[in-house]
Subunit: 356 residues, 2 copies
C-alpha cells in the first residue's frame, strides 16, 4: 500500500497533535459542483451513478481536485444496504428515496437476509478499491453507513418521512419486531463497514440521521444500542493503522455524553450545540467533528471566515477537532465559498496547534 | 365575567398545587376529528375557517365536547400576523402555507407596518370573545402567536422551508436587516397577544417552531431576545387574575436554562428531552408543559397508558406540570386514542398530587 501523505484526519480523530485542523465537508462530492452534475448527467439516475465504480470514483475525487481537503469520502448512499436486501431503491425528483417493497409486516422482516458485501454490494467495494488506488495516499478515504434506526425508518416508511408514523408506530406497538429488524441491520452494517475497511476505507462513519427524533430512552434502546453493537464488531486496525470510527446523530446534541461511551473515536456535532459545551459533555473521551451551519456558505467570504474563526475558537486549542459542516453541503452553494471555508480552516487553525 | 370552573391549567402554569395534572393537546382542534373536517368542508379553505369567528369558535370547542380537557386553545394560525402585514397568506394542498408577497429585499421589510389587532385582525379577536362566551367558564382559553424568528422564516422563504437558505442567508449576511424585521414582528406580536388577552385569552403561548434550527448563539440573538422583549410587554394580570405565558421552542431542549430566564411562566418541552432533565435545567423557575411523543397515539390504549405513566413519573410529584404532546396531534390519529391519553393523565396523575 502507498504511504499516506496527509494523516491529519486520522491523527485528529485519535486526538493526536496536528499542524492545522483537518477539514472535509459532508456531501463534498455533490450537486453544488458543476463537474458532479456533468458526471451525474452522463451516468443516468442517482443510483446508476452509485452503482458505477468508475463514475463513483470520479465524483469522489472531484472536490479534491478543487480544494485542499484533508479527506475523501466514498460517494454512495446510505440506502444501498436496504436495496441489497431486496427492497428496490429508487429516487423520485424532489421527493427523495423510495422503496418499491417497504417493510409492512413481520413476515417481510423475517424474510430479510444479510447481504454479502462483496457479492451483493460489490459495486461499493469496487469503488472503494478504485478510489484508494486513485488517491495514491494523497489523503485518507472515509467509508460510511447509515445507522440501523435510520435505515429502518426508510425501510418501514417506504421513503423519507415527516412524522415517522409507521416506524414509531412499530416502536411503540411492537418493539420486539423493530428490535428484530434493527438486529439484522446492525449485523448487515457491521459486515458492510468491515468490507469497506478491507477494501481500503481508512476511517468509517455511521450516519444516524434520524436518531434525533426519538426520546432519550428510545434513542438509547433503538439507536445507540445498535451503533454500539456495530462498533464492537468493527475491524479497528487495518494496514497496521488504527481505523477511527465516527458516530453522528443529527440533533443528538443532548446525548453526546452517552454517545461518548459507545466505543466510537469521534462524534459528529451539528451547529445547535456549541463545541465548547460538547467538549464538556464528552470529557476528552472522543474527538469531535463539526460543526458550522452549512447555510454560512450562502454568506460572503468575510462572514465565512468570521464564522470559521468562531467555530475554531469554540473548540479551543486541545487536539481532537475535525472541522466539518454540521450537515451536508446544500446543492445551490457557490463552490468558491467552499474554497474560502477550507482555506480559512487551515489558515486560522494554525495558532491553535502551535504548541503541539 | 363568568367564574372559571376549572383553573387547573392556570394554577399548574404558576406552579401551584392541583388535584390532578391538567392536560390539553397542541392542535386539539384539528383534522383528526371528523366533526372538524365537516366544519372545514363547510367553511371552504383553511383561511376561510380561520377568518370566520363563528366557525373558528365551533372548531375550538369541538374537542371539549368529546374529551375532559383542561383548556381550550383558540383555533387560528401563526401566520395571521404576516397576512395582516399584507403578504397574502394562502395554503396549498400538501405544501402548507405560502405567501404571495414574500419579503425579498430591504425595501419590502421597511414597508411593513404594524397591524392593528382590532382593525386588521378583528376576526381573531371576535373569535376569542365568542369562544369565551361559549365556554362559560368551563375551562380557560389559551391564545397564541408565532415567535418573531419563526414568522420571519416563513415571510422570507415565502412558505415552509427545509434548509432556511434565504432566512439564514439574511441572518449571516445582513443581520441588521433581519433584526429590523424581528423588531417589527416583536412589536406586532406584543400588540396581538395583548389584544387577545383583552378579548378574553386567559393564558398565552408563543410557538417558536423554528428556533431549534439555529446555533446556540443565534438562538439567543435572533429568537430568544425577541421573545423576551414580547414577554416584557405583555399584560400579565387581567380580570384580576395572572395571565401565564408559555414559551415553546421545538428542538430547544438544550436551551431550557436560558429560556427559563425569559420571563415566561412555563416552557413547552418536546419528547427529545426527559422532563426530569428539563426540571434540573430550569431549577423551579418555571412550569413545564409536555412532552409525550404524538406518535404514541398510533399505539394501543394499553401502551398509551404506559407512556403517560412514564411521562408523569419523569416529571415527578412537584407542582408545575401541564401534560401535553411534544408537538401537534397528527391528522390521522384515532380520536379514541386521544380520549385514552386524556383519561390516563387525569387518573394516573392523582397520586402525584395527593400531598398537595
Amino acid at each position: 500500500m502507498t504511504e499516506l501523505k496527509n494523516d491529519r484526519l486520522l491523527r485528529a480523530l485519535q486526538r493526536q497533535p496536528v499542524d492545522q485542523t483537518p477539514v472535509w465537508m459532508m456531501r463534498q462530492a455533490g450537486r453544488y459542483l458543476p463537474e458532479y452534475r456533468a458526471t451525474r448527467a452522463k451516468a443516468g439516475s442517482f443510483m446508476d451513478l452509485c452503482r458505477n465504480p468508475e463514475l463513483a470514483c470520479e465524483v469522489t475525487l472531484q472536490p479534491l481536485a478543487r480544494f485542499p481537503l484533508d479527506a475523501a469520502i466514498l460517494f454512495s448512499d446510505i440506502l444501498t444496504i436496504p436495496d441489497a436486501m431486496g427492497l428496490g431503491l429508487y429516487f423520485t425528483e424532489g421527493e427523495g428515496p423510495r422503496f418499491k417493497e417497504p417493510l409492512r409486516d413481520a413476515a417481510a422482516i423475517e424474510r430479510i437476509g444479510l447481504p454479502d458485501p462483496e457479492q451483493d454490494l460489490g459495486y461499493v467495494m469496487e469503488a472503494v478499491r478504485l478510489i484508494r488506488r486513485e488517491l495514491a495516499g494523497q489523503v485518507p478515504l472515509i467509508g460510511f453507513s447509515g445507522s440501523p434506526w435510520t435505515l429502518a425508518t426508510y425501510m418501514i416508511e417506504g421513503g423519507s418521512s415527516k412524522n415517522f408514523a409507521l416506524s414509531k408506530g412499530m416502536l411503540f406497538e411492537n418493539p420486539a419486531l423493530l428490535h428484530r429488524l434493527l438486529d439484522k441491520l446492525a449485523a448487515a452494517v457491521t459486515l458492510y463497514l468491515n468490507a469497506q475497511i478491507a477494501a481500503g476505507a481508512q476511517s468509517v462513519m455511521i450516519f444516524d440521521t434520524w436518531g434525533g427524533v426519538l426520546s432519550p430512552r428510545d434513542y438509547e434502546l433503538f439507536s445507540l444500542a445498535y451503533m454500539r453493537q456495530i462498533i464492537s464488531g468493527l475491524t479497528r486496525v487495518h494496514e497496521g493503522r488504527k481505523v477511527p470510527v465516527t458516530l453522528f446523530t443529527k440533533n443528538g446534541g443532548q446525548w453526546l455524553h452517552q454517545m461518548a461511551e459507545s466505543g466510537a473515536d469521534a462524534l459528529g456535532v451539528d451547529w445547535t450545540t456549541d463545541l465548547a459545551d460538547a467538549r464538556i459533555a464528552v470529557q476528552d473521551r472522543v474527538a469531535l467533528q463539526g460543526n458550522i451551519d452549512p447555510c454560512i456558505l450562502y454568506a460572503s467570504p468575510q462572514r465565512i471566515r468570521e464564522e470559521v474563526a468562531n467555530v475554531l475558537n469554540s473548540y479551543g486549542s486541545a487536539p481532537g477537532h475535525v472541522f466539518n459542516l454540521g450537515h451536508g453541503i446544500h446543492p445551490n452553494v457557490n463552490p468558491d465559498h467552499a474554497a474560502t471555508l477550507i482555506e480559512a480552516v487551515h489558515q486560522l487553525s494554525r495558532p491553535y496547534h502551535a504548541g503541539e
